[in-house]
């Protein structure tokens, strides 16, 4: 595989393009590595009352914050988290994405997105009545991440 790096002073941010004839397992693995290139740790401490809970962050549907605390919402429970929202953003894997000033969503738990042109769009989750709003500022990146996640999970199922 040929690897090329192109630098452009006028280009802002970074972009990785993988050119290939067809999507193989190697290409998929490379895609996952690039997507999760930061050292993502899912070891987050969850608290409820005086108890600490141990479970993978993947069970969390979304994180939301009020003025004082950050809460992790699973489909049937709520836990307190000691990290701030921006710290969570840095350590969570790529299936978590910020959708509002006070909310981070796990796209793998998204069931539906009710779009609104004039206002925030409403996100519903699987197996729960909980919902959150996606603000207009975060809507496009959220939908891109959701579609990427959906495409990669469909590809994985086809391979199986």
């Amino acid at each position: 595989m040929k690897v090329t790096i192109e630098t452009d002073e006028n280009f802002e941010g970074g972009e990785v393009i993988i050119r290939c004839k067809e999507i193989t397992k190697d290409i998929e693995d490379l895609y996952e590595i690039v997507r999760n290139h930061k050292n993502k740790s899912t070891d987050i401490a969850f608290f409820k009352g005086n108890s600490r809970y141990y479970f993978p962050a993947g069970r969390v549907c979304f994180f939301e914050t009020d003025a004082d605390n950050v809460y992790a919402h699973t489909s049937d429970d709520t836990f307190r988290v000691t990290l701030k929202l921006y710290e969570l953003e840095e350590c969570l894997p790529s299936n978590f994405i910020r959708v509002a000033k006070s909310t981070i969503v796990n796209v793998s738990h998204v069931y539906s997105v009710e779009k609104s042109i004039t206002a925030s769009s409403l996100v519903s989750f699987q197996k729960t009545k909980k919902q959150v709003y996606v603000s207009r500022k975060y809507y496009k990146p959220f939908m891109q991440r959701l579609e990427e996640h959906y495409r990669s999970s469909v590809l994985k199922k086809e391979k199986q």
Partner: protein, 241 residues
């Protein structure tokens, strides 16, 4: 029957009796049936709204009476009256909305002296959203929002929604053993409350041009959670989850 409904029906019947008595003497010969019917309906609404300081009811019922009696003289007057009613409602709500809540607090403490103590420090004029603790405040205006309340011993929740769509979840709240009050103040808004079905919820919300719907069943045992407050031009849906 709720006290507010008693006021409405009481005044309605008194006015109706007055009209019935005066009718044979030709007192209302120059007044049409529609005008009479509107008067009989709007005056009780006005008085009921006045007693509960429901500004929507006060100004819109007064506007309605104005439309009924003044429109024959000036056909374009109706929209002026409605616009004035709307502006007065918003203005009075902004200025005196907290007074209405303090009145309720005093009334509630008088009626339930053995229950919890509400310190009354929180008002809707505080532009701070405290959604944690035994007394939680939540305000949503001009937009859509989902709020998740958190409390280990919920005694009171003040929820205000105006010109907004708001969803409030109580799934992470535990009711104080002495009971709790959920006070809602909703105007030109759609409000959804998601409350655990294990709670013992009693509904006593006063509505003007609106409705409070309960979807699902709540328990009849456990500390009482009183859902109360005022709504105007709003739909409130309470989900038992």
């Amino acid at each position: 029957m709720k006290k507010s409904n008693k006021i409405f029906w009481g005044v309605f019947l008194i006015i109706a009796a007055f009209i019935v008595i005066c009718f044979p003497f030709g007192v209302f010969d120059n007044i049409g049936f529609g005008t009479l019917a509107a008067t009989v309906l709007l005056i009780p609404i006005f008085i009921k709204s006045l007693t509960s300081l429901n500004f929507f009811g006060i100004f819109f019922s007064a506007a309605g009476l104005g439309i009924v009696y003044l429109t024959p003289f000036n056909k374009d007057f109706w929209w002026i009256l409605l616009l004035a009613a709307l502006l007065l409602t918003i203005g009075f709500q902004m200025l005196f909305g907290s007074i209405k809540k303090k009145r309720f607090d005093t009334q509630w403490q008088r009626n339930h002296p053995d229950q919890f103590q509400y310190h009354g420090k929180h008002s809707f004029s505080d532009n701070v959203e405290n959604i944690n603790g035994s007394v939680v405040n939540c305000e949503v205006s001009f937009g859509s929002s989902v709020k998740y309340l958190h409390s280990q011993s919920l005694q009171r929740a003040n929820i205000k929604s105006s010109f907004a769509g708001a969803k409030v979840y109580f799934t992470d709240c535990i009711v104080d053993p002495n009971g709790a009050v959920i006070y809602i103040d909703s105007s030109f808004a759609g409000l959804e409350l998601h409350i655990p079905s294990s709670w013992n919820v009693k509904q006593d919300v006063s509505s003007t041009v609106g409705a409070v719907d309960i979807v699902g069943n709540f328990s009849n045992v456990g500390p009482e959670v009183l859902l109360t407050g005022n709504t105007g031009f709003s739909g409130v849906t309470v989900f038992a989850i």
